[in-house]
Symmetry: C2
Subunit: 102 residues, 2 copies
């Protein structure tokens, strides 16, 4: 958005910065969630491709079956960190991770 337009909007009382911040936050949040779901899905696919149960994968990751289930469900309690480390543990290459992101 051009600054001239912005000044006009602000002159009319729009809390421009705040609205933009809100929109940016939403977009960012949406992208974050999408990313997480894409990683979750890929993790489940990778596990199934290797014919591992959640319990078996958990053992490899030194984690627990319940956490693997949460990872695959994209639970809010799971970080991108854990998802990415798990995919790496299943042998995913950086190229494969890259494809998940795109």
């Amino acid at each position: 958005m051009k600054s001239a337009k912005r000044r006009r909007l602000e002159a009319k009382g729009w809390k421009f910065g705040t609205v933009q911040e809100f929109l940016n936050l939403s977009e960012e949040e949406a992208a974050y969630i999408e990313l997480k779901l894409a990683l979750s899905k890929s993790l489940q696919e990778a596990r199934r491709k290797k014919n591992l149960t959640q319990h078996e994968l958990a053992r490899r990751l030194k984690s627990s079956q319940s956490r693997v289930a949460k990872m695959e469900a994209g639970d809010t309690s799971v970080s991108l960190d854990l998802l990415i480390r798990s995919l790496l543990a299943l042998g995913a290459s950086r190229k494969e991770l890259s494809q998940i992101f795109s």
Copy 2:
């Protein structure tokens, strides 16, 4: 590695599983660290491209200058999560993230 070869090695007393686990862990660890450094570098580039100081970026992220410095340094106390969320906050698209990963 083919299972026939594996069986021969095991017959000679190699603790195959353990060694493989060790190697995999190393590879995984290496990939994780590389990824983190790639994200760190991209974050710094993105910040500089926008002519923001670490302090200004920190304010956007509701974080602190010291943490931004640690992010850009790839400090062990920084998660992939925070790096990725920061890049998203700077407006990186999924495609751009994907390129960082590849």
